[in-house]
């Protein structure tokens, strides 16, 4: 059976690989490796620091992966490779926090390229880091629009696993990882919806809403039980560490993996779009003393006061979603960020895309700016704010001395669709701008 499935799969991929006319679709490496961490001086550009004022004719010096100087009168080290940015714009790299980059290449018809959801509902120990394909063609395509860093997360089940913080450069997962175990993902069973996963589908089919709510309750009970077990597990091991005379508690990789989230060191991502689901997630996080980050946030404006009161940030992935109700204003989702900004809710903007379309991140922010968000805030919502929300605002998200040298040099406003990228630095390395797409373009554009 297994053999047959595998053979069928190969047949599908082989068929697609060998069938077409000329150059073939293939899963290869399209992402040229970045150069070494040298010393660079990006000189004469309009430096948009994001955290501070714009510098019309500024210089940014990079050394050993870090930004070492920013300003108008900056001494350029004698060993620096000078990048002439005259007439160009210099920005911090954008950060896409709602993706599953590297875990899913071709969503349909090539299931072997999709490693995004583990079996079962409780997999806190499933780490995105171990599923990341550093050669995914999505990586090169996304970084050349100026996305230098992503949060990539597993999905599905209830405790989906752990997300990684990745730079979009490097030929191995360890080279890409900024923080391999970065955030826990809990897809909280939805109220009035019968929870999540297979149990939900079966209950809804067989028993209707009553059974659905019962299933949801059972799932919530299981989730609470596991988190309580992990808490007890943590206490037992802490006690044993202090006093070796007590019985040695067994090790458990599943419970162990929950400890950073329970201690508040690791944030917890809760996907939630409906107002009720957002409230449920925040309330649950408080009950369990977790540090929640809502991702989705379509109806976040309806619970903005609540979110502000509970100091809970939102990653808005719904800017480009169609309004869910017929009588919603046409711009109801375009204007989510503006509404959250007005209400004082902390937020960032994301595409919510798995990987191939995260390159549209700047236009999501641009659309929010067209609909009431200030241009400066739109830029922050894809640079500094996502970094701050995830607790790495001291490391990235703006052009400041001491921060990771993730920098993009463009021909114009970073959020505009018609501009182009001229230089890209990730972790202080010069990243070539070739991608799967530029390679195919070069191969075919002049074909007679």
């Amino acid at each position: 059976m297994t053999h047959l499935t595998q053979r069928d799969l190969i047949a599908v991929i082989f068929g697609a690989t060998m069938g077409a006319s000329t150059a073939r679709a293939q899963l290869g490496s399209f992402n040229p490796n970045p150069g070494p961490q040298g010393t660079f001086a990006i000189r004469g550009g309009r430096v948009v620091t994001v955290s501070g004022a714009e510098i019309p004719n500024g210089t940014v010096v990079i050394s050993a992966g870090k930004i070492t100087a920013v300003g108008t009168n900056v001494t350029v080290p004698s060993n620096a490779q000078v990048i002439d940015a005259t007439g160009l714009h210099v920005y911090p790299g954008m950060i896409e926090t709602g993706s599953s980059v590297g875990l899913s290449e071709i969503g349909q018809g090539a299931v072997a390229t999709v490693d995004i959801s583990e079996v079962g509902s409780f997999n806190p120990n499933a780490q995105a880091f171990y599923g990341i394909d550093p050669h995914s063609a999505h990586i090169g395509v996304a970084r050349v629009v100026g996305i230098t860093t992503v949060v990539s997360r597993p999905t599905g089940g209830i405790l989906s696993g752990q997300a990684a913080l990745l730079n979009l450069a490097g030929d191995t997962p360890p080279k890409m990882a900024v923080v391999p175990r970065f955030a826990l993902v809990i897809e909280l069973p939805r109220s009035g919806f019968g929870g999540r996963g297979f149990a939900r589908a079966a209950a809804v089919q067989q028993g209707g809403p009553t059974d659905a709510n019962r299933v949801r309750q059972l799932q919530m009970d299981s989730l609470r039980a596991m988190l309580h077990d992990a808490e007890a597990y943590g206490k037992a091991h802490a006690a044993y560490a202090k006093d070796k005379s007590i019985p040695r508690p067994a090790h458990d990789v599943v419970l162990e993996s929950l400890l950073p989230a329970l201690s508040g060191q690791m944030p917890v991502i809760f996907p939630a779009d409906r107002a009720t689901d957002i409230r449920d997630a925040v309330t649950f996080a408080e009950e369990m003393k977790l540090k929640p980050i809502i991702i989705g946030g379509q109806e976040a404006p309806a619970v903005a006061a609540f979110l502000k009161q509970h100091n809970t940030p939102v990653i808005v992935t719904a800017v480009m979603k169609l309004p869910s109700r017929e009588d919603d204003p046409y711009d109801v989702n375009y204007s989510i960020p503006a509404k959250l900004a007005a209400a004082g809710v902390t937020f960032a903007i994301s595409t919510g895309d798995r990987g191939s379309e995260i390159r549209t991140l700047p236009y999501n922010a641009g659309m929010a700016a067209a609909h009431g968000l200030s241009k400066a805030d739109a830029l922050k919502s894809v640079t500094l704010w996502p970094a701050q929300i995830f607790g790495v605002g001291d490391k990235m998200g703006s052009i400041e001395v001491g921060k990771m040298a993730n920098i993009v040099v463009t021909t114009g406003d970073l959020l505009e669709a018609k501009i182009d990228t001229k230089y890209l630095f990730i972790d202080g390395r010069n990243v070539p701008l070739d991608t799967k797409h530029t390679q195919l373009n070069a191969t075919f554009k002049d074909r007679p």
Partner: protein
């Protein structure tokens, strides 16, 4: 057998084939748009220029135009006017997309299942869209007939059908037709697999259908010739609603819009068409069109694609955003489409991407969502650019429509306003008041407590 039953059913419905019927024009009042930047698309950019819309047409373009009596005057200082956006691949308004039970369903018509109250029409007007090509889905090799619509939200389907648009038909090739991606679910639900299951079968379905259509045409031609000579004894050939649209394709009266992804399958279709003596009007999606750009150009075929969708299935893995630019540089009439109620609302941003990917000029980029689409539906004499005599389908933007920061503010079709950003706001306020009043009047209502 099945085909006959379906064709019979079609007859009962009383399908009237041929060009979309013109509707009685209700002339809109004149509007003078003053001091705008006008992107004519075909004749460059005009700064500080006035535009007079009268009797549903673009009446005058020039400096210091005077307003006719009773005309509405709009000060468009600092604003940009462009032709209404044309979306060459839409499924908006369609209550059904696929009649996929057979491999040839040329007898079915999208215009029979259109919902003129689809809220997506309004959302697209708010994105500056005025004309859409509503296509049948991609379930089968030869699908149903299209409908070209002007987005006159609030009117009847008949009022929205684009008068004089060349009728079209959807074809489809590749994975959606072979059902490779849905075989598992097909087996689970007991649905039988349908022929063709390979690209080999797709070629054969086309060849078979057009061979039958050619014979049908020959019998019609023979009959008509005999009748013209005065023969009154002949019985007319039985009307065949499946083959009739294909005869129209052979006669160049109906455009083929063919869903396709891989270069090789597109080439196959172009060759079958050449053999049967017709031209494929557009390859829809055509994601690998750039691999055979010369052949597409040589065939006189157009192509309508996504700006940057890719990697969602195997046949989309070699899609590149440079596709449109490569095709245009090879002389192909190429467009950017939405195929989506969501993306249709922001085709201006998708057009702007074509400047980044492949270096189109601003005019070339704008053409991919305006004039070129008009050519692909046979309405380029009516819409797609700002020229005197053309339909007054224009949009006032807050700024450069190729900027992500710009918004469509007023959308005209045939000189009438179908979206206006200020009016939209007023309607919202009015609705909010109405809602509040209704809620206040309902004594049983409990105000929800938001923690």
């Amino acid at each position: 057998m099945n085909t006959r039953i379906l064709a019979g059913a079609g007859l009962l419905i009383g399908a009237a084939l041929g060009a979309q019927q013109p509707v009685a024009a209700k002339p809109a009042g004149a509007t003078l748009i003053k001091n705008a930047t006008i992107l004519t698309v075909t004749k460059g950019k005009l700064e500080n220029t006035d535009l007079l819309l009268q009797n549903g047409k673009i009446a005058q373009i020039g400096k210091n135009l005077s307003a006719p009596a009773g005309a509405t005057v709009i000060d468009a200082t600092g604003k940009v006017v462009m032709p209404g956006i044309i979306d060459p691949h839409s499924h908006s308004m369609a209550d059904a997309i696929n009649e996929g039970s057979l491999s040839v369903t040329s007898m079915v018509r999208i215009r029979d299942v259109l919902n003129p109250t689809d809220i997506n029409i309004y959302r697209q007007l708010a994105g500056g869209v005025t004309t859409i090509n509503v296509l049948h889905g991609s379930a089968n090799t030869i699908g149903g007939q299209n409908a070209v619509m002007k987005l006159k939200y609030g009117r009847s389907v008949d009022d929205m059908l684009f008068p004089g648009a060349t009728p079209g038909i959807k074809f489809a090739l590749g994975e959606n037709v072979t059902q490779k991606n849905s075989q598992q679910s097909a087996q689970a639900t007991g649905r039988p697999l349908r022929y063709p299951a390979t690209r080999m079968g797709q070629e054969e379905v086309l060849r078979d259908a057009f061979t039958r259509a050619r014979d049908y045409k020959a019998s019609l031609d023979d009959y008509n010739a005999a009748v013209a000579k005065g023969d009154k004894t002949l019985v007319a050939p039985e009307r065949n609603l499946e083959l009739e649209p294909l005869v129209e394709v052979l006669e160049g009266k109906r455009f083929v819009h063919a869903h396709s992804y891989r270069g090789d399958e597109m080439l196959m279709l172009l060759n079958v068409a050449k053999e049967f003596g017709f031209t494929v009007k557009t390859l829809q999606h055509g994601l690998e069109g750039y691999k055979i750009a010369s052949e597409i150009a040589q065939a006189g075929t157009g192509l309508s694609t996504f700006a940057d969708e890719w990697s969602y299935k195997i046949e989309a893995y070699d899609a590149i955003p440079y596709n449109t630019a490569i095709l245009i540089h090879h002389g192909v009439v190429a467009t950017v489409n939405s195929d989506s109620d969501e993306r249709a609302r922001r085709l201006n941003i998708d057009a702007a991407k074509m400047i980044r990917y492949g270096g189109l000029t601003e005019d070339e980029a704008l053409k991919t969502i305006t004039y070129n689409g008009a050519v692909q539906m046979g309405v380029e004499k009516r819409v797609g650019s700002i020229e005197v005599g053309k339909d007054a389908d224009v949009v006032i933007w807050s700024g450069d429509p190729l900027s992500v920061y710009s918004m469509a503010e007023t959308t005209f079709i045939d000189g009438e306003i179908f979206f206006d950003i200020k009016r939209d706001k007023e309607m919202r306020d009015q609705m909010a008041k109405e809602r509040a009043a209704l809620e206040a009047a309902d004594r049983r209502r409990v105000t929800p407590v938001v923690p």
